[in-house]
């Protein structure tokens, strides 16, 4: 149960434009299965940058990233795409749904891409995820017919379609009102407690962070505090 599913070893990141600056400085930590972790810190301290590296989308960094105990360095673009497909769910601050597809199809796409299940099964699973998030009735709507909170829940459903090892989210409630934030938070909590889903959530909302199991606080590209509660 307490297996390491994600491990960062001495991760550093530089930006060279317009001048060379180090935005991440020797970041090391690991996340165990079922952990609900929040990352907080001042604006510009490097939270998003870290998250993009952890999601394997950004490959320009120093140090090592292990997902499921497999090093990500030296993997090819297509192999990383497969890792994202199989093992990582990603939720953005802006819901980023594809308006060309229905809500259901949006949720199904990563499942169809991975193709571990038949199209019928993927559809059934998509309905199941939408149900967990309480929006199964919106399945056949177009994304632009939904409210912001609903969209964010669709995005969460999509990130869960392939049963990822870890769900990464960058300020998923940053755009939502109090009530919708609460809904999203309770969904995360349920995923963590009921489904033993590992979550790493970047947030500005300290109240939100207080209620997670573990808080990682960053400052100037470094982890300054890493507190677990039980």
């Amino acid at each position: 149960m307490n297996e390491k599913i994600l491990e960062a070893k001495n991760i550093s990141k530089y930006f060279h434009d317009p001048i060379s600056i180090q935005v991440l400085k020797n970041i090391s930590f690991s996340i165990l299965q079922g952990e609900f972790v929040s990352v907080i810190g001042k604006s510009g301290c490097g939270k998003s940058t870290l998250l993009y590296i952890l999601s394997t989308m950004d490959t320009d960094y120093e140090g090592d990233l292990l997902i499921d105990n497999i090093p990500m360095r030296n993997k090819k673009e297509a192999e990383l795409a497969l890792v994202r497909s199989e093992k990582i769910g990603f939720v953005f601050q802006f819901h980023y749904l594809l308006n060309e597809f229905s809500v259901l199809r949006n949720v199904m796409l990563p499942g169809l891409k991975l193709a571990n299940y038949s199209e019928k099964e993927v559809e059934a699973r998509a309905y199941q995820k939408l149900k967990i998030l309480g929006i199964q009735d919106e399945a056949l709507k177009n994304p632009n017919q939904l409210s912001g909170g609903q969209k964010q829940r669709v995005a969460i459903a999509r990130s869960l379609i392939n049963d990822p090892l870890i769900l990464l989210a960058d300020e998923p409630t940053g755009n939502l009102d109090k009530k919708n934030s609460e809904i999203v938070f309770s969904i995360f909590q349920e995923l963590s407690e009921v489904f033993n889903q590992a979550l790493l959530i970047v947030t500005h909302d300290n109240e939100f962070a207080e209620r997670t199991q573990r808080i990682i606080e960053m400052e100037d590209g470094k982890i300054i505090k890493d507190i677990s509660r039980n």
Binding site: S48, Y52, S55, M57, D58, E77, A78, A81, L82, R84, S85, E86, F90, F92, Q93, F94, Y96, L97, L98, N99, E100, F101, L109, P110, L112, K113, L114, A115, R158, S159, N162
Partner: protein
């Protein structure tokens, strides 16, 4: 790779921008339509113009020419054998234009596997006597049946019956232009004189129209027997043997072969009419150039649409990549879009191209010069449809190539940060 998924994503992206897609597809349709029509029409025209010569001209013509002997007596002299001998004012000796033992030659030709048919001919200079005036002319004595079978003679007899030449003694079919000059109607009797002064009355049984006015003003046709009588020669006298081959391309080497074999002058159709072939190939070249230019322009249309689409769909591409689609998948999505536009536009173009050429095929085209042609000529060659298909696919693939590669290289982090 999951082609079904790629295709479904492509179609959704297409449908989201269906108006622009349609315009791009119409561009392809238009160019393929024009390509097919242009080539079918040009090829039809080429066949027509080539036929003007190729169908009614002998592939190889055997004849005698009056020319000075190549061997002059001085060349036989031993003392000057290895010298250059200059002789001025050499004159040909009095020789007949007759082909000797032509019966045997024609038998030999007919036995040749490569020969489709052989027709004898007498060409005789005459004067058409119109009142006090003499018009120069040429009378061709022909074997009507062989001439019709091999050189479509009948098709060019616009009034009267070709076969009457054989059935009615001392009959003549006048060139249309000559008949007009002489005011000779069918049934009239005209008088001709040979250069040696012999006269003959001939009955007009028809008009001949070749489509080449200079010919129609001069040429007339009679039967071989009538021609022999006219010039006072025996019934074995002929001046030309016309050979039609199964394969026209063999004409030049075979002409040389016959010249040697029968010790006679032999000219092949290609040497006699080289200007026609050049005209045909240049017309074909121009139509291909125009067709391909049209396609390239359509290709730029597709290129623009795809670039615009990629610019608009940056977010979607970033999302697809963030959720597990690889650069290759994205590349294929856009290549599929380009090919879909190309294939649908192209297929429609083939259909419209066929339609437009059939319409042109119905337009009346009556010209005095071409009596057998009633509508504009169209060549429905499957080759053009095949080339059109291949070109529409190839150009759209290349039009889609760079935009697709650009899409596949989009970095999702930059897009997501940008929001």
């Amino acid at each position: 790779m999951n082609y079904k998924l790629i295709a479904s994503v492509s179609v959704s992206l297409l449908m989201a921008r269906w108006k622009q897609t349609l315009i791009a597809a119409i561009g392809v349709t238009f160019s393929i339509t024009m390509f097919i029509t242009l080539l079918s029409f040009m090829a039809g025209l080429n066949t027509l113009l080539d036929g003007l010569i190729g169908n009614r001209t002998a592939h190889i013509r055997l004849y005698n020419e009056i020319q000075p002997s190549k061997m002059q007596p001085v060349d036989l002299l031993n003392q000057v054998k290895n010298h250059h001998n200059f002789i001025s004012s050499v004159k040909p000796k009095n020789e007949k234009l007759e082909i000797y033992s032509n019966g045997a030659v024609m038998e030999a030709l007919k036995k040749d596997e490569r020969v489709l048919g052989v027709a004898p001919k007498i060409i005789a200079q005459v004067f058409y006597n119109v009142g006090a005036i003499d018009l120069t002319g040429v009378i061709n004595g022909i074997d009507v049946e062989a001439e019709s079978k091999l050189f479509s003679f009948k098709d060019y007899v616009t009034s009267g019956e070709a076969i009457d030449l054989r059935n009615i003694p001392n009959s003549i079919i006048l060139g249309k232009g000559a008949a007009e000059k002489m005011l000779a109607n069918i049934g009239d009797v005209i008088q001709v004189t040979t250069p040696k002064g012999e006269r003959m009355q001939l009955k007009v049984v028809g008009y001949f129209q070749s489509g080449i006015q200079d010919i129609d003003k001069i040429q007339s046709y009679t039967s071989i027997i009538t021609a022999q009588k006219l010039i006072g020669e025996s019934n074995t006298y002929i001046t030309d043997i016309q050979v039609k081959l199964k394969n026209i391309l063999l004409a030049p080497p075979m002409a040389k072969e016959y010249a040697k074999l029968f010790d006679i002058e032999a000219i092949d159709i290609q040497s006699a009419n080289s200007q026609f072939e050049t005209g045909s190939s240049i017309r074909t070249l121009i139509s291909y150039a125009v067709g391909i230019t049209l396609l390239i322009v359509a290709g730029f249309g597709i290129y623009n649409i795809l670039n615009m689409m990629i610019y608009e769909k940056m977010d979607s591409i970033a999302i697809l990549k963030a959720t597990g689609f690889s650069g290759k998948d994205v590349n294929w999505i856009f290549v599929t879009i380009a090919l879909t536009i190309g294939i649908f536009g192209g297929l429609l173009g083939l259909v419209f191209g066929f339609g437009l050429s059939s319409v042109i095929d119905q337009i009346p085209f009556n010209t005095a010069a071409l009596p057998t042609i009633k509508t504009y000529p169209i060549d429905y060659n499957i080759k053009f449809y095949f080339i059109g298909t291949v070109f529409s696919i190839v150009t759209t693939y290349f039009a889609g190539f760079f935009p697709s590669r650009k899409a596949s290289k989009i970095d999702p982090v930059i897009i997501i940060r940008g929001k």
